[in-house]
Symmetry: D2
Subunit: 353 residues, 4 copies
């Protein structure tokens, strides 16, 4: 990564020379240029330098600022891959002109719940089924998920309903296990910079659904995608799910502008999670629609058939009937911007047998 | 406003009695109740108390917490006025099922610019014309607006094009003057808590377009509306324009969820300003669409015929052709959620003469 | 302000020429330089350009980024005035090696309160008396201050106790009146970007105590100081009072690092307001000590003799005895970093005798 | 955890009864009380309920709000352990009246660096040596640390200098290995909610140095401590290291008020990390002093003998001479608030002789 080094107006010729020398030591090539009034000089440092090189140059005597020219991510960028990436998971398309809907309960609480909710969301138009087996909770005293038993239930439901399934992994030690059952591996917001987990999912051949961290600028989300992609797994789906701000009317603040921002710089599909951002059922549909209108590749939304008895995040779950109504609006909004919602296959696979 | 006072588990009978006495002194009536284990007691303090009463009770010995039951705003709330407020400004409807589009240049730079942009946005479907005469800039060395000369230009353009006009006021001393020319008075984000300005616009009979402060929770925006309404002017239009967060890819973070949040608690129409939130032309259309899809009563958007020569905020201005394309998408998105875009009158009023 | 314009790697010679031409049109002089691989070229645009110039250049075809070299503020900067500014208000020094303590009640509630608290804080070591006559409240239903009657009380107390007084102004129309009574005019956080108010206080000869806005980066605080100074009034005291973040355990988050940050770039004295940042008495002393240890020129702190009956912000007011204890710690901490607390004159105003 | 359930003014008797019934079903005991005007009724739900119970009750018809009475953490709270916790690590005291200084390089780059910096910081007064072997970097292309080879170097330096050592763990799979070498295990900000890592370090007998997440309210930091303590390891040291806000002059915003906030609610020692918060050497000393003045149990600070060649975070490292000067100020500030800095043993490990 080449850099531009701006020197201070009062830089001495000796300091200027030392900066050039240091640039050479670091394996880059200095190109000294304009030298006038407000700034002492500008040096182009051409070559391959990372964060440490930038940090080191900034500390040299006479240096005002060092600016990197290129983005720090490569594989995730449009420079690397100009066209929108489009993936296919068990026949369901993600990315490009497709709008794909993921729905299901927050946690896999029971077989009954998963099948019941799965059937309802499929009927309404969802094509991928979600459910959490390992729940990352704030309190050690809350329900932590069913673990591998939950994964098995979700797998069965996915097979029965002919829907690919997505589930969250939270520990590098569970990635292999989860990859056996799940079609898509989710990395949650709180693990977005758990680098070893990123590397581990990067070594599987499963698409990874990567959620933005609560305090992560878009740039850092793309760096986390880069960690995964650096292991050879280029099937990364990004997800905006709300950032932490001072506003407490919603659980988090959905940064819907992340959708066009990411789409400008990256070829990876971007989803929106209105449920965790809202934290409250009443706001979920509006935020889901906003995400689709902004150009998201899809949404991931929590649906529960009896949310007032949910073991986790009940207040933000849509009722199946609300989800059905939302799907109708989503189809029209997608059409307004030239996109098409991916619809479920004609009938569940169980009847295929 | 009644309150609930929770006492500590180990509160003494004497302290409990003192709390009740103080509640009486403050003009409220104490209703002592449950007293058990985890909490010493709960006292309902029934009557009219404001922030000072809550503050004072919280400091008494033995008090764990004091919770206000009702919202601190009244006139702005759905409790006061259950139905959506709908205003009409020179024949243009705002609120309820209507989607109203305000567009124009950031600053009134010249007569030519305002007429040129006005014609273009009207042709595309905007019904209200915007333009700034007093510009609240971060630096004293930047262009500060044309003042009253600018207002006159905007007025003429509005008359010529048969569009009501909206302009920002920044000083209580200019409100009367601005109210003579403008149909709608805007209070900007940086003045959302300039209470004397709020009171002053509250004394005019002009609808007020009130933007959310950069660091204001929705609740405080509604308190500022309350300041205006307390003077008898109930025609307040709220506007989400982005809050300040750690994300720097956009100038501010558009909190699109503020739309459903406000709509649940207040009858006032809510607009979205995608231009200031984005700070960059490329993201404006996506954010405008998101606002409409979330249920906003309209958008206010900056358009410039030659943004690379704009004296103010050029990088975020849409080109007229981009605005035209956006309008087409907005119409379809509004339809998807049962709303209708208010269209311009058949022809400009110039032909009125 | 000169700028550096970085062109895209694939910029055409024609686009490059057009950028140079536009730089000339804008009255700056282009100095084309390095042109290689990762970036198309770097152009130094030498001369005087403001935000609009930067905005305009950024939009040109082929431009990757435009970077301003100098800080946007001048009079407030160390480049303009290298040494710490030191002011004297009625014999009390502010800035440089001096640590100056401002204390008093939040609001001027009554003559008795102001004199009682004034005597107590003076006895403990405060040298400047504070009190609010115009209170900028969130709700129109809360106590709004005594206005000019309050100012008169504060003036009398200041005279009686031989303490300069500071009070907040919130409206350009009250600045003249307030400047008659007060020795120092405060501009509060919610008015930090109320430019007309800044200009108005800049036209008085009173030192201005300027608080940082809730969502203002340090850079914008310095730009607001620049507004005041541009009118010829160079006696500006800055104040860090907490910014708005996601943390709700305190009312705001005291950004204590603003102290060294400002001191590096500006010659103006920086105070810390621990009371508004904390919002809760129990945390005030720790935050006041932190401010002094970080190198603040002083603190402004709220003290109330009966905070559980205060009409405004009682929960954050220190009791006089707590303030006395704090002063003792502050003296030692100031000494630890080579500073000295400015002590009150030997006895209150001889005029009493 | 008992709760208070507030019902809406217009709640029906049937809905009221259903809420009471549901409270019983959830294993708590309902105590119905005050019923008047502004609120329909208040029900005390006495017993043991967690987040799911609160969530479930909030969704019932007629419920306005549900408030938990106690804090969600137990072992970390002052209710569980009233006195300050004091730990001893290889003879070095942490907590209570002691101020303990941890210093060393950011990353273990080489044996020479660690020994050189270790000697310098010990001579100045640091008693615990820090150094990173597994570096959690934002980019996969940056230096990731020496791993177990680094741990061995740090161990040797600690033995040679008679200083306990602290190092960060980032993966549950490395905890056992790290616990063999290190005296204190650090969990970094980005892993504060990596629950499986928390559980794993909770199963070791090593004190854990737990850093606050970039977007974590203090309450969530204490919940993370609770995860560790729930495994039987009560030796948890908390660390404020800056939160993410809109301010970019520093890398993060040091929330120094977290120190008194935590001390009021928890018995665990709280440190401050000025280096990561500042991101820039020039601000580190001021922020370190602020932390000590606010009452922190110590600081953890990065020192490098040649920061302009550091492989990681050089710009924020203090030079040894700057650290020595800072230590002198820290001793005096600690004394000002009745604390004492823990000094190194008379000479490095006798085992050398």
């Amino acid at each position: 990564m080449s850099m531009i080094v701006v020197l201070k107006p009062d830089v001495s010729p000796e300091a200027k020379e030392r900066v050039c020398e240091r640039i050479r030591e670091l394996g880059l090539s200095p190109h000294l240029s304009i030298s006038n009034g407000d700034f002492g000089a500008v040096i182009g440092a051409i070559g391959e330098g990372g964060a440490a090189v930038q940090d080191q140059l900034e500390q040299l005597e006479g240096v005002e600022a060092v600016m990197a020219i290129l983005k720090p991510y490569k594989l995730a960028s449009r420079e690397f891959h100009a066209e929108d990436s489009v993936f296919e998971v068990r026949g369901v398309r993600i990315g490009g002109p497709h709008v794909t809907i993921i729905a299901g309960p927050c946690a896999i609480e029971s077989r009954e719940l998963v099948f019941e909710v799965g059937r309802r969301v499929r009927a309404a138009g969802a094509t991928i089924l979600r459910g959490g087996a390992y729940k990352p909770r704030t309190s050690p005293y809350d329900f932590q998920g069913l673990g591998v038993e939950g994964l098995k239930i979700l797998r069965e439901a996915g097979d029965e309903l002919d829907m690919p399934i997505v589930t969250e992994v939270v520990d590098p030690r569970n990635v292999e296990e989860a990859a056996e059952f799940a079609d898509i591996l989710q990395v949650g917001a709180r693990n977005m910079q758990n680098n070893n987990l990123l590397l581990e999912v990067g070594r599987t051949r499963r698409p990874v659904f990567l959620k933005r961290g609560l305090a992560a600028p878009v740039r850092e989300l793309l760096m986390s995608a880069e960690y995964i992609m650096s292991q050879g797994n280029h099937q990364v789906i990004l997800c905006e799910r709300g950032i932490r701000t001072f506003e407490t009317a919603t659980r988090f603040t959905l940064d819907v502008s992340a959708v066009p921002v990411i789409q400008q710089d990256s070829h990876l599909p971007v989803f929106v999670d209105p449920s965790h951002a809202a934290g409250k059922r009443d706001y979920v549909a509006a935020m889901a629609r906003a995400g689709i209108a902004a150009g998201a590749a899809g949404i991931i939304v929590e649906v529960h058939s009896c949310p007032e008895k949910a073991l986790c995040d009940g207040p933000q779950a849509l009722l199946p009937i609300e989800f059905t109504r939302l799907m109708q609006q989503i189809r029209q909004i997608a059409a307004a911007i030239g996109r098409t919602v991916v619809e479920p296959s004609a009938r569940p696979s169980s009847s295929r047998g």
